[in-house]
Each structure stands twice: as C-alpha cells, then as structure tokens.
Symmetry: C2
Subunit: 412 residues, 2 copies
Amino acid sequence: MNAEIIAVGTELLMGETQDTNTSWIGQRLPEFGLEPEYASIVGDNLTRLTETLDRAWRRSDVVIVMGGLGPTLDDLTRDAIAKMLGEPLTTDPELKDWLEENFARRNVRPMPRQNLRQAGIIPSAVAIRNAMGTAPSWWIDRDGKLLLTLPGPPRELSNMWTTEIAPRLKERLPGKKVMSRTFKTIGLSEAAVDEMARGVYDIPGMDFGVYAKPDGIYLRAIAKADTEAEALNTLLRAETMTRDALGAYIWGTDEEYPPERAGELLLRRGYTLAVMESCTGGMVGAALTETPGSSAYFLGGAITYSGAMKAQAGVPEETLREHGAVSEEAARAMAEAARRTFGADCGVSVTGVAGPGDQDGVKAGTVFIGVATPETAGVSRHEFPSRRPLVRNRAVTAALLQLIQALQERAP
Amino acid sequence: MNAEIIAVGTELLMGETQDTNTSWIGQRLPEFGLEPEYASIVGDNLTRLTETLDRAWRRSDVVIVMGGLGPTLDDLTRDAIAKMLGEPLTTDPELKDWLEENFARRNVRPMPRQNLRQAGIIPSAVAIRNAMGTAPSWWIDRDGKLLLTLPGPPRELSNMWTTEIAPRLKERLPGKKVMSRTFKTIGLSEAAVDEMARGVYDIPGMDFGVYAKPDGIYLRAIAKADTEAEALNTLLRAETMTRDALGAYIWGTDEEYPPERAGELLLRRGYTLAVMESCTGGMVGAALTETPGSSAYFLGGAITYSGAMKAQAGVPEETLREHGAVSEEAARAMAEAARRTFGADCGVSVTGVAGPGDQDGVKAGTVFIGVATPETAGVSRHEFPSRRPLVRNRAVTAALLQLIQALQERAP
C-alpha cells in the first residue's frame, strides 16, 4: 500500500525550522508494509492545504498529515481536512473537558479561548489524546483509506506515533509483515561487504541493501512474510548467516551508535576511559557523554588545544619537539598520558589539522588517533577531505570505532 | 512571484537521508522576492516525478528541482523534465568534453560509460557546470517561467547556488528587491523585544518578525524596494534605529553564531580562554573550536566528568564536599580553576545534571554556568526541561552567551 506524508507550516517552507518529521515517519512506514511515494510541505494557507490534501486522498492509501494542529488561527489542518472531506467541524465536548483539565493541571484557568479550536472534530474522525501536548490526533478510516494527523513538535509526534498510532496501524493494515535489521560494519569497503554477504542474499523472502555511512558500511536485511512470526524467523536466519559471514567486522546493529557501543564494551570489561583531544576540541568527550550513565566508565580528560596544554597534561615535551604535535608519536603519547595522568584504564587521543589551512607543514585533513587499553596500544593515520566540520566529525567517529575495535578484539 | 521546491530521491522519502536542501533553499528565496508555496519530495520514479514536475510548472513561477542528476539509471530528473516539457534529450558535445576532462584530471580513463548521461541536455536548457562534481545544473527560461536543477549533495548545491544561480536570479527576476538583516538578542523576552523595537516598525517599506531561538530572541528586518540601493538605504536606517533601541542586548547579526562571536570578542580584547566542563563533557570546547583560527584564543581545558577529575584540575575539594559538584560554588571555583590551572585570562565552567534522572538530590535539568574574566566573575543557574540532549545543548548556548555578555559589558 502506498503512503503520503504532508508536513504543514510556513516556517518549514521558509526554512526557519528544519522539517525532520518527514524523514522520521518515512523510516517507520516499511515496517507496516507501507511505501512512502510522496512527501510535501505546505504553508499555513487553507486553499493550498485543502488542495494538497485532496490530491493525497485521491492517490494514496494512507495519508499522514503533520502539524497545523495548534490553537491559533493559522493552524488550519483541521479546517482543511473538514473542507476536503465535506464534513462539518464541531466542538467535541469530551475533548473540551480534557483540554480544560489539561490547563487546570497547569493552573491556567480559564483555558485560553483559542484553545477551544483544538477540541474540534469531524464525524468520521476518532480523536486520540496527546500525552505531551494539547493537540489531539485524528484517526480517519473512510472509504477504505486512512488519514491521520500528528502533532508537529517532534517529541509529541514520536510519542504519539509509538504509543498510539503504530499499534493501531498494525491491527488495521492487511498484507505482508515487514521486519528489518541493520548490521553496522567497520573495516570493510562497500564492495567487500557486498561480496562477503552474497551467500545471505539467497534466503527467500528477503531484500538486502548496502549503504556507506560515516560510521562504516551498513547491511540492511528486510524480511517480508504473511505473518510476523514468519518474518521474524526469516530475519533470525539472516542474522545467523550474516554474523557467520561478517562476524568480527560487525560493531553494532539497528539504532546502536558508536558512543553507546563503546560504552557497553567498557562496562562489560569494567574499564574506565579518559580522552585527550586536540583538533576535536572536546567532541569525543561530548559524544561519549551523550549516553545516560556514561559516568560509570567515562572519567573525563583534557582538551589540549595548545601545545603547552599537551605538555601540562603529561605528554613528554621531547616527543612534541621531535615529532611535532600532529604525529603518530604525539597521538601515542597522548593516549598513554590520558591513561596515566587521569588514572584511567583506557585512553583515546586525537591530534590533527582540522583546516581549512595546512599547519606546520601538515596537510589539512590529516588526523592521528591513538587508543591505549591495558592490552593494546595503536595509532591510526587518516587523511580526511579537508573541510573543517567534516574532518572533525569523521575524526570523532574514527576514534570511537578504533576504541570499539580495540575492545572487541579481546572481548571475552 | 511564487516558487516551488522539489527534492528528488527515494532515500529522502524513506528517511534514510534527511533532506536539508529544501530548508536551505527556502531560506534564500525571499531575498529574490520569491515566496516558496510548495515543497515536495518525490522518489526515483519517472511517472511520479514527471507528474509532480508538470503540476509545479503549471502552478508556480519558479521551480527548483534538487537531486536526481547523478549518472545512474535511477537518476531521472533530466528524463522527467524532458518528458514534461516535451523536448528531446540529447548529448551535449561540450558537456561531454568537460566531463571527460573532469575524469581525466582524476586519472579515470576512459570515463565510465554511464556518466555520459550527465552530458544530456534539452533545447531550452542552458547547462551550468558544477565546480564540485559531475552533475551540471540546468537553467530553463521558457514561457515566462524558470525551472532550475541543482545537484543533490548539499555542498555542491550550496556552491552552485551561491556562485552561479543567485547572481543569475538577481539579473533575471523583476520587481522589488528584498534585503534582510537579523538581530540576535539575549536577556530579553519575545514580548520585550517586540515592545522595545516598536518605534522601528514604523519605517515605511519594511517588514519585521520576532522569533524565539535557542540562542535568544531574533528580530528580523526585511526591506523591500524597487532598487537594491533603496532597499539597502531602508535597511541601514532600520539598523541604526534597532541598535538605538536594543543596543546592549544585541550580541550578533545574520549568520553570526555564539562560538564565533565569543571568539571575536576574545580576540578584540587579547584574552585567552580555558574551559572546565562536567555535564557537557566537552561540548563547549567542541563549539568554540568550530571556528577556524580558534587556537589564537582557545587554549583548551578539562573535561571533569568525575569528582576526582575536578579536584585534579584545581577545584578545592572542600568546595565540592561542602556544596556538592553541582552548585553555584562549584561552578564559580571551576571557572576560576580553569583560568588558574591552565594560565588563561578567562574561564568558563559548566556543571549540572543532564538527566534523565536526578542526581544526589539535584533535579535533572539543573545547570550552573560560571564565567570568570580578568574583570568579572559570575555564575548563573538554569533549570532546563529535563531531556538529556536538550539540557546539554541549552547549557552550551547559555555558557557561550554568558561569556559574550561578560566580554561585551566591558568591551572598549
């Protein structure tokens, strides 16, 4: 079945706010056997919104409308759907009570008059209350088609989708069940993953995709079957075969990201970690501390942007003098100093030239990464395309993946 | 005149890649007097793409198509435009030569056969060569309307727009010239900015908008006039009046961001800076070093995620013991320690509970920020909504704005 996504809001069209909802929803549709064929952004304009809804309703099986559900007069999604379907828009007394209670709980009495608009409903819509805001969703099941509204704020949208919409869709939609699994590899080229996974491709009822991402090559396996149990079975078979084929190169799956995976491995080994960062200026520490509970293994570290700071943090001055601050030797000494100075089991270091210009004869984009654990010590050299933000982002990912590899190699 | 943006690519619909081009282009259209009315994403499907192009060409004055210009068979933008306009698609010999030279320079000989597709052209299109890739843009000026293609990779797109498309649009489009200026303020509410700027609103030929952003309240002034000189004149008048009205609260304009502005102020005063970060784990350092040349004022600092690290970096243990690591006193001591331990003129500290859970009786979302300069020392207390990424991002912005305010107050 085909699906269509409509994001509503002039601020999205003008680029004042970046629309991330379309991509978030688009990712989740295949799981329900839905194929997104069109997505559009429409401003807060009744004529254009109604026209866009009308076209979507005629050509698509499932239409998902995001935003335009607020209380103000330029929130027109409700009005446009009512107009498009030719149904009257009236105030739902139960929704009105719920809204008033909502405001009362926040000690806003009486409820601002304009919020009454959010209690509007049409006969064919079922209202679904929003646990995180005042905009309810509409679930419209008419003429064999579905039209759903979702609140625009990404946090409300994702909560509404996960807790309310996804379970209803699972019940409502017929046909094939789809399940997928993404294997994230490191140390292999796209062609090599493709080559090594070839045997897995022959499993019937499965589709595969190979993608290059900043944190390595992904292999996505998609199982389609008549029942969920059958899809799961096929997927588990693919999992076993893929792990046989790519084993040591797989560092994570699905929604796992490098900082999280590094944290898991550190926890499992009972190791602590400290960093010493030069050209990344704190980004490795920032990435590691994205994960709640990272204080269990991450001690902190030093941002040694200047040469004097490196020496102060325990890097031998003679190493810096002889080999320069951007060198294999400096990276090795920095990783060791991170361990020693801060009393950590593992140390990660980054030193490089982020650019745009070259520095002391070292080309912009050159980065050395050091990883030291109680068992191993290694330095890698990278030549990233010399755009400053790219060099720095790539360096962070490379540092985390190098740490993951070092911890994985000897993992119990 | 109205404009319509079309992004092409199944990966955008499926959410595998987040479309950022629509928002980037949307932001730039008002400058040319163009109003974006529709934006859409279409997959790599000839029928759907042709149909979407056809609708756009009928209803919009300017149509901008992004992506689908690669060499492979699923890059269908050229084919769809040819079909929609009913023009033949042939190989342009000059484009072919240019492409072959392009590959020869990269030592790829002969050019892969499929890249010949990128030399395709239709009679009413003028090809514009791409300085950063192999996909040329098409400039189609027909029936009083414009249709432009832009390469999909954001870096190629922005370069093509800035160097080639924007100057041509300026020449081609009639009517009002539009110029804008955004003033970024801190320390005022949306309502206060609105109130204080009211006098400026009366300047004829100008529109104003007030927006709340993570780094303060923005006031956007838009001047429309028949000539560029006239628009500039109006805008300069607004600039003077706005600075009179909001003076000390303005920390930057247009594309200026806090890290850059902080760097400028540090450079102007000849000051160096060191940081001491707890809950932000290196994010303040990461933000400061986004700016090329930041080594002129940023020395580095310490990521003191654990209590022991704070003490090691020079924070008195007795302060930590008596007041706790997340306290006004700790933030003050950390900012001072950043200056003293690392020999910097200024110190910035962040200590807080990023969440999701509370910690040692301190509520998640509570953050203390310390700023110490040779002249001032201050600590601010914040209660951010307790979502971890949000707490951390807000803390970074708040820290940089606090530093900017401290440096601005006594700026020469």
